[in-house]
Symmetry: D2
Subunit: 479 residues, 4 copies
């Protein structure tokens, strides 16, 4: 219950970084991964090529705990790729950490992946029946086997051949002894940006990684685009049939770091405008606006700005959360208290408090926070979600609850208000969310992947439709 | 350089917790230490007594990483004490982690200590010359040896006898097989509060620990007070000669968690008022108020409130900081960029920015942050410190730089402004700081220990005055 | 130089164990592996199947260090296989430890292997070109991929199909969720025996493993035989074309434990008779017979028995050899002294000493031992090898020196005598070795694989003949 | 039960080494400790002084596992001491590993100790009552505290002052920044020898350590002698009142390595003569003489020589014994089988076997070995102990069973024969043991400490006589 990930949040997806043509490639990859640490804290890995050999390290834990010191000695080379893992697929084991690597006929190939394939199980089943042996339980390995079995001649052609067979949300960064490859799914569900440091090329999930690496932002990789970078420069391919571009709204809502720029928009500014919009749609008679830290802060500032009600830190977040759990005690008041959030009584006592969070998933953490704020003496509590009700699951790399567990999928707003025990509850509307981004909402041809709020999925869901139970999916790879 | 502690901050001191008479003592101590994690992240330890035997564990790292799961099995008992270490004395080694323990003539005795003794070296020298063998390099061990050698009959009398011989800033929590002991230095330099959970007694450095443990706040331990808790109840002693009470101002400025209450005042509210005061003393013509996170946030909110200029998160702080270091690269821009703070360009670009931090110690981090904000496009940068210039060292447990390194000890405000490369620089005045706390400033009989700003030390500095070089102090205990 | 494996010895090969139908399968496998620890000390692994799932652990180090305690809980199931690794192929890495496992189309399959394939590289190359991805650098993985790609219907047929394609020396033990499989190469180069504990079947490299497991010896698996054990009982197959049976002589000379029975003969007795034969072929006028411990002991006892000269422990062997190295000092006498063997001066001083060792490979250790015995005061030193001169490399799993390093491949006996600095040197003859075993020597149709002494290899050497340099063989799998 | 220490053996005591005046002191100490590894395998430690600072490392496990590689960098200096621990006192914890070190008034002092004090508890109690704080549960620490509290002026005088107060069996090696000190108890119970490497001095428990270090044997340190070595040379002191010299017989029987020379006698030769003597005192009509390896080998060779019956390895000992335990299975035959000893059926089957072991302590291992030999088909089994019946406990550093557990203390020879289930049982007589050593036995003034066989203790047993229960002795030091 406590010390764990906020179970009321859409959980983080992964972060990927690639560097081509820089003498300190591994160091830059490590910096980029550190900047993307919010996208996955379970494990991290880096692979490099030094002109003769591939080098690789994969570790459980944070980038800053594992990749320090003599990095360019440990992982030499001018080309490198890296990955922060937040497991959406595959149990925690060293061999389920990326990048993954294979000795192919054509030489070594390493790949890192953010996202989730919607036909991975079907492809894997076919490959195994034809004699492929998988070494991990990760969807990502499918692409390696497709590549290995392609009858095309060049690695580039084999990669394009392989990638055409997959569906879902993905950003891939791959490398050979001569190439760095980037690829983004045709809907643009998962992000990937391109940067440069002098002559060196950089790929990363977000612009905040470019900033820390000291790279100049060049452009986003287009949805459906594959870029292949060699010492000759960069070539762009578009191997997929054309389909509507619909980037994932959750990058704005929760995933991206506030200092990142997504599709030309400051994430921080979009979130602040969500607060403005929320204040327009769901005003309240209150004394203080309090964010649920850290993700609710920009929208709370926005709400405060628009409403004129003071913004105060009524909840203090502890950042010292370790990997083991302290079991809760049985003493009464204790139960509702989290090890992560503490009430700031001086701000809350006797006040009409408006809490702002980025979203509500299962609702249990929100309910605990409300109880904690109530115990600290708040006179009234009004809850605002800076995103619309989450009524549908994601299948592209966001590890949310099953639909049966999604609070908004199974309850009316009034039922949710009662469950959370608040005086009022308000969600940003779907059109309001689009407005905060600065785009008109059109339910027929929506500009973003808004399936979690609308049920309108941007791709087929092959694995899901084959209706295999998650138990049948269990793979038994050992160790 | 990077990934390290903010070298521009007075560093954290230690946190201590004690529980008497609760069946889950170790669990409560762990919760209390977790709430006090901001006071020391290097190491942590817990000692308990289960009616027959003492149990103890000491670890490098965070409470949440080390004390989880089956804690009441690992460390059973109804009495327990714990310690978070931020090393102000003694090199990092398991045996320099507290609580420390000794088998005395009268039975086992364990002790945990926050603070620093100003006559520890003198006492240690005397004890060694009389044949005491020290097992650590910690000042804390001195009290154990004084206790062991006391000719008093009872443990209580021996503790009072021992404690009378020491000087400096300290909060001690000690335990025997029958007692929990708390002690606070006569000036009240280091904090210690008393709480209760039903019949169980709790001692802790701050009230935020009581909150997380589910304990009711009873009162602060008075400066110079020793409390001895047994199954009969609590007895209070005052073994020290009377002297002026002068609690340390840095609890308000930096150490205490914002949700703690110190001497009846909300730390968050005091900091917000420092911001008000700062806006009065050093106004500026600006577009945005930006805190240096996290410690500058409440004062920045206060500055914004008083000045009417918007508060925005112009600097994003990463909380994923590991224990190894990523070496900086040589690429130009890189050098000025920290792995801990990132600029939020959307807030800063083209703006006249006022940065608010809690204090300036050596100035190097502040200078780097200013450079980073400038690189992000700020048009003007105005820097405000929510505390007065730090001109003198502390000797009571705050591990700041030597006086030669203190920026304000060696430079005028104008020189500091030039060093930091800002358009304007302002420090809160000493009377202004007192005013934010709600106390009148009287330089003759100051209500607080303000020596860092004034040079007016509340105690003798015996070890320091004997002028032993720090080299002579080096102790050679092995392993 | 020191603390290492005797570089004058043919190094150990691997040990394999399998159990079918016993509720404590993992425990029995661990006992069997412990009895076979002399065949490989680098790493060990066990895989079991509990009726629902496969379980596996692989560790660096000894069986007794890794597999203790709650083994049947950690590795439950009635079927299990295990492996002791002495690396003849593949660098030390967890994923190069056996058993190796794959999820095949038909379900899980695990395999452990003793020996070396002589066409592994050729097969691997072909498999990779057809899109197989290898996860280790072990030859053993080839059989898994052949199995995965076989177009036969049943696992049994697929295994027989796969095994027909390989050449070399091998004993395989494999398992599925329903079967235990054993296989031995058609020449019978590597050993494999069958035992029973009540209704449970046991396979192991040597009979000493059966003894420790409490199993009854049933028979040896025949050269070229494949046995497939199910709950219905055992079925025997012979998938290979007929070829001469030639078991490896080195099992008698060095590998097998003295208390094992190989092809119906006590290894201890065979070695003792080698000593008799050696005394007949190379008598000497001496005072004392001294074994080079431990492998020279039985032959030295035999030499003493036949010659009537007393057997004494003139060299003491230390069994406390750790994993790091103590560097040699520069002090003169020091250089010749090993950390493994110490001279027993009381036995050696002033004596005419005859040293008996099992074999001489590169000669450096022998030379050092002679020097050590000389320094201890021996008047004369006569050296006897209980096996013939080793003139040719092995390619079936014995990790000896390259041919260029084999002392006997490049020197006459007189040159070797001078190199070793002994008064006389004698090797057992090839016919003498056969005689000790009790078999007549026929150079045309030899009953054993004696290629190391004669150059007459029992199989084709495909990989070797394709003359790929060992550098080209380097595989680059990461981590 | 299995994989453990032979519970039928007097367990090993500790080994100590010291070097003065050699640039590679730590390396030499490590070599010496490796040669003395048989005296203690639980832990090891080395302390050095490099002219400025003391350096130290203490580890669980073997010398060769912990002290390799860059030792002279890790532990620089020309003076060093080391210790192999077999715990006779104190639970396994890093701080209970020696050498132990203290910063005294006079500077650093390190000490390593082989043996056991018989008045340690009494002294400790007195020291604690006077305010000394112990950091370990080792008797050895007593000497440090006595030293720290001595009112003598020089370290030498303080050491002599301290050592006069202790009783028992001990060899101490101590060091300061200027001195190496060696001391041996006045009865000479524990051994200590002096050697030289050019100008450097060496102290060690046995001569085999000198051999491996490349040092020349100079002489034994006399019972009751204290030597203090400085750059001026060596000075000898005799601080103790005169008392009969009685070295411990168990060095000959079991402890010392066979290649060591004790009191001018080869240990191997003495053991061989025990075998001769045993053949005279307890002949038998047998087919084969089989040693219980490794400690029974020399006496078995001697028995074979004198009786003319062949010596054969009927029991094979595994040296691959790890640190965890494989639990025994329940299958019948299994129970009697050890993981350490295996029967060599070819030698035993159908034979009248005479087993020779060095001693019988509790008898359980002997009984299991007999059962194992019987199961392997032996027709008759005759058991011979190369030492007399052990009827009394040792208090000087040999960790044998309590008297209640000593087989010979509670049974007649016939009862023991029945317990072991052998056809005949014979112990070497006390006069016979003296005769093997070459000394006449005189029960009035015995030349050796033979208390284990006779009950005639060479010193007072103060702690034991004060009759404190072992429970009261339990010390509660934490961690």
């Amino acid at each position: 219950m406590l010390f764990d990930h906020d179970d009321d949040k859409p959980r983080e997806e992964c972060g990927v970084v690639g560097v081509f043509g820089h003498p300190q490639a591994s160091l830059l990859v490590a910096l980029g991964l550190h900047a993307l640490q919010h996208r996955g804290q379970e494990a991290c890995g880096i692979t490099t090529f030094d002109g003769e050999k591939f080098h690789g390290e994969r570790h459980m834990g944070l980038v800053g705990e594992n990749f320090g010191g003599d990095l360019t000695e440990r992982l030499p080379g001018k080309t490198g790729i890296g990955h922060n893992r937040y497991s959406t697929q595959g149990k925690p084991a060293i061999r389920n950490i990326q990048p993954i690597y294979a000795d192919l006929d054509s030489g070594g190939f390493a790949i890192a992946h953010n996202g989730n394939l919607t036909n991975a199980r079907a492809l894997r089943k076919k490959l195994v029946s034809r004699g492929s042996i998988f070494q991990s339980t990760m969807d990502t390995e499918v692409i390696l086997h497709l590549l290995a079995r392609s009858d095309q001649d060049t690695v580039s052609d084999r990669f394009l051949d392989a990638i055409r067979q997959i569906e879902g949300g993905f950003s891939f960064i791959g490398m050979t002894n001569k190439k760095l490859i980037g690829a983004r799914d045709p809907s643009g569900l998962r992000p990937l940006v391109l940067g440069q440091i002098n002559d060196a090329f950089v790929l990363a999930s977000e612009t905040c990684a470019l900033d820390l690496m000291g790279a100049d932002f060049v452009r986003e990789i287009d949805p459906g685009e594959v870029v292949i970078i060699t010492s000759e420069g960069m070539q762009s391919y578009n191997p997929f049939p054309s389909r509507p571009v619909r980037p994932c709204l959750f990058e704005y809502v929760y995933f991206a770091r506030p200092d990142s720029v997504v599709q030309g928009r400051s994430v921080y500014e979009v979130r602040r405008k969500m607060g403005h919009q929320l204040a327009i749609e769901h005003p309240a008679d209150i004394d203080v606006v309090v964010p649920v830290p850290d993700s609710g802060v920009p929208a709370a500032i926005g709400f405060s700005e628009h409403s004129g009600v003071p913004f105060q830190l009524g909840i203090i977040r502890s950042h010292y959360v370790g990997r083991t759990f302290i079991q809760p005690t049985q003493t009464g008041r204790q139960k509702a208290v989290s090890r992560k959030h503490s009430p700031n009584r001086a701000v809350l006592e006797g006040k009409r408090v408006l809490l702002v969070d980025d979203s509500i998933v299962r609702g249990n953490t929100s309910r605990k926070i409300v109880q904690m704020v109530r115990d600290a003496g708040a006179k009234e509590i009004h809850f605002r979600s800076a995103s619309p009700p989450i009524t549908h699951q994601d299948f592209y790399g966001i590890d949310m609850a099953d639909r049966t567990e999604l609070l908004a999928a199974n309850n009316t707003t009034e039922e949710m208000r009662e469950y959370l025990k608040v005086e009022s509850l308000g969600f940003l509307s779907v059109p309001g969310l689009y407005r905060a981004i600065g785009v008109d909402y059109d339910a027929e041809t929506p500009a973003f992947a808004d399936h979690c709020f609308t049920g309108d999925y941007p791709t087929r869901l092959i694995d899901h439709d084959q209706n295999e139970s998650s138990k049948e999916r269990q793979l038994s790879l050992l160790d």
